[in-house]
């Protein structure tokens, strides 16, 4: 699959994403945020970092940059779109995903490996196929929140893509690293082709990085035949 890795001023996980996608067998090229045409790509990766210095709110300015119109069009056409960390914040700010990411409940930046249990159902992102995975988080504002009604819909429609768990796949009071509601680490949009998640699969693609569980997630896309 041919991925556009969007670069904003302040993106810092773009190179990891590009390399990780290539390691997983995809074609990947950068797309500058001022570009407005992503029509030559099959899929879009919105990477982590501190886009526009995180001014105003994390992801707020990036969400209103020119390239996001094309990301919106790709999402509407059913193309796979993934936002990781700051990318997740950008997708929420742009309205492509519900909810918002606010300061961690413990107020600290948290950088460590976490265990994730894939739960959501999606043909585009068949995340359940990867099973329990261990990949890193690195964020200060990763506490997912949403209105009660939105939360009910996410849960009821099986759109919680990943939940923070312990190494046995169980939810415990200490397995949630940031206070996210319902231990939510990642979600799908209504069409289930847009995935947002705080943990970084692209930072766990080789044994030398401590885990290659993330590579499995980048590879699940290969199994999908797009129409």
């Amino acid at each position: 699959m041919k991925f556009a890795v969007v670069r904003f001023p302040g993106s810092n996980c773009d190179e990891d994403a590009l390399q990780g996608l290539r390691d997983a067998g995809h074609v990947a090229e950068y797309a500058w945020h001022e570009n407005s045409d992503l029509s030559s790509f099959d899929a879009v990766w919105v990477p982590g970092g501190f886009s526009y210095g995180d001014y105003l709110r994390c992801g707020a300015i990036a969400a209103r940059s020119p390239v996001m119109e094309s990301v919106r069009a790709a999402a509407a056409a059913g193309a796979p779109v993934i936002g990781v960390c700051n990318g997740f914040q950008i997708l929420c700010e742009s309205g492509l995903l519900p909810g918002a990411l606010v300061r961690n409940s413990a107020t600290k930046f948290v950088c460590k490996d976490v265990w994730l249990r894939p739960e959501g159902v999606s043909e585009v992102w068949p995340v359940r196929a990867v099973g329990l995975i261990r990949i890193p988080i690195a964020h200060g504002e990763g506490r997912f929140v949403a209105h009660e009604e939105e939360l009910r819909r996410l849960e009821g429609e099986g759109r919680v893509a990943f939940r923070y768990v312990d190494s046995h796949g169980e939810r415990t009071p200490v397995s949630n690293p940031n206070g996210s509601v319902h231990d939510i680490a990642g979600i799908f949009n209504e069409g289930r082709n847009v995935l947002g998640m705080m943990p970084h699969p692209e930072r766990a693609t080789r044994p030398s990085l401590g885990s290659k569980d993330g590579l499995g997630l980048l590879r699940v896309l290969n199994q999908v035949q797009r129409t």
């Binding site: 709110r57 929420c92 413990a106």
Partner: protein, 70 residues
């Protein structure tokens, strides 16, 4: 603009704890927000509200108040 009351304002809570440590009793809660000052030739309240809704505030998590002064 401030975080909606239903949301834990962790920065506000930290400041509240710190005030208590300094001996300032009686602070029930602290909420931290932002003030954005706009200088405009002509003030159109509808336009300012649109600015809040589209960029300045995130209605999912924030409340905002618009005030006009000379």
């Amino acid at each position: 603009m401030t975080l909606k009351p239903a949301l834990l304002d962790s920065a506000g809570r930290t400041v509240g704890d710190s005030l208590a440590r300094l001996g300032f009793d009686g602070v029930r809660s602290v909420r931290i927000g932002k003030i954005i000052e706009l200088e405009m030739d002509e003030v159109d309240p509808t336009q300012v509200k649109a600015m809040c809704e589209r960029l300045l505030a995130n209605p999912v998590i924030e409340d905002y108040v618009i005030e006009e002064s000379d």
